[in-house]
Subunit: 305 residues, 2 copies
């Protein structure tokens, strides 16, 4: 793609910006998440203050920046949505002589028939589709681990349905605020034998309720001398394992699952998928967001012809 | 029962004491939980300071007071355990001229084959058995809602197996520390239509993973204008519903479930059990603890013949 634009992935906890020229990133910058600033316009200006030669370079943003907590609220588009529909839904406005476009979020009835929403992940998913020729045809299951994990079914380049699972937040709140995380401050869960035991427990064919397994992170310490570090990895394995087992029960994977996100998080999901005999393909989350924002710029013709 | 003794239910967050004479409570007192004091002997002395005529009256205690965090550590007895075995396992010592006995906890392989433990609930369960002639024969399923809910199978007056589910703590940590509890400070969950919807979601015949349902407490607010109060009740319904559905999948109730605890907590469990067509019988938790401690005093002959 010829031309220059600013691409921004602006979530709850951080803003990541890239200055892109002719398809390459020539500079990067960061800023606060939308939950950490009450003045997004100023936060944006501060984050790009160094880019003095780009006072009118257009910007395209995705994520919680389009929520009620963000800069300008954008609508939710009902699935199915492909990159052209997402581009047509961009909310565009002028800010200080610059054209800014913010991506809408997506809404659907999820895999259990309940209302569901996402903001930001749609751009990562469509970016991951754009990064590989194989992914814009056929049926693919995507997994985007995070505070709120998103599972998405993509058919012929369209997000047709998705499902949010509260896995990262569940793990973090139990680790930080329950007896299950006692003595684990400063420790990091590993994808190791204790993690594998947790995954194995979650894949029990009786499909135990999560709350029926969690206490093992405590009782195994009291009765089997499991260490605090192993208990933390076990807790991670149980929560990720229950997420993966639950999703594969609802929707058998149509092929390798495309795991989009930070490699450390993706590793646990890949291990749990492997436990079920399902392959995982890993895609870096930042690269996917950037590719998605670039695809939106192209589809919307933001740089002109 | 003739004679006088001090009965104490001493858990993590509170100490509840009763002065019992000839089978009646003649005075009550309270004190800090074992997690709130580093000197249990002094805390006990302070809590009974008014009972000046009872400097040598024997005391019997149950709960976390027998843990490593407590006053004197007591062992875990492996199930099955009836009141006579529990009484034989009392750890007795003299304190300041008074005979003190602390009940042991119980251990077992739970209903999913994992190690499990309890401290305090065994005394409540055996007390609830003692409170009714019907309960010391046959097979009964007990439910003791709390931070860590305990399900226990009792056969002919013996606790044969039990299972801890992290339901109360899961609900509280999500309410207080996750986005699911946003704007709910000061609100109390009700057993109402929103609660019933949560229970119904958890009883979905596909038995969705808990993490696959929790986000509805957020998405229904964004998409269906569910109020914060209803979202909190929904969250309570989903967590209790998943607990009850999971247990009934593992172990069909052999009859009415005996729910032992505070009435407010028991109400939600009774509603979720009713959803599955299972009756609940409610027993007050403090009365059950007192009855259990009395049964231990009698079985151990602590008051002499």
């Amino acid at each position: 793609m010829t031309g220059t634009f600013i691409a921004g992935d602006w979530g709850t906890t951080r803003l990541r910006l890239a200055l892109c020229r002719n398809g390459e990133v020539i500079a990067r910058s960061e800023g606060p998440g939308v939950a950490q600033t009450s003045d997004p316009a100023s936060a944006f200006a501060t984050a790009i203050a160094e880019w003095t030669h780009h006072r009118t370079t257009p910007a395209v943003l995705c994520g919680m920046v389009g929520s009620t907590l963000g800069w300008v609220e954008t609508p939710y588009l009902d699935c199915p949505v492909d990159v052209d529909r997402l581009a047509a839904g961009l909310v565009r406005f002028d800010h200080d002589g610059r054209s800014v476009a913010i991506a809408p979020g997506l809404a659907c009835e999820n895999m259990l028939g309940a209302p569901d929403v996402m903001r930001g992940e749609e751009t990562q998913i469509l970016g991951a589709v754009a990064l590989s020729r194989d992914r814009d045809v056929g049926r693919h299951l995507f997994c985007l681990p995070g505070t709120h994990n998103k599972w998405a079914l993509v058919e012929d380049g369209r997000v047709v349905r998705f499902h949010t699972t509260v896995t990262g937040e569940l793990f973090a709140t139990l680790r930080d605020h329950s007896v299950l995380g006692r003595d684990t401050a400063g420790l990091t869960p590993a994808v190791d034998d204790a993690f594998a035991l947790g995954v194995d427990r979650a894949f029990d064919p009786r499909r135990p309720a999560l709350g029926h397994l969690l206490f093992e992170a405590r009782s195994r310490r009291l009765r089997e001398r499991m260490t605090a570090g192993d208990a933390l990895s076990f807790l991670s394995g149980v929560t990720i394992g229950a997420d993966v087992a639950g999703m594969l029960d609802l929707l058998p994977a149509p092929g390798p699952v495309i795991v989009v996100g930070a490699p450390a998080l993706g590793k646990g999901y890949a291990a749990a998928l492997a436990h079920a005999g399902v392959d995982a393909v890993s895609v870096d989350g930042d690269a996917a967001a950037l590719a998605g924002l670039g695809a939106l710029v192209a589809a919307a013709g933001l740089l002109g012809e």
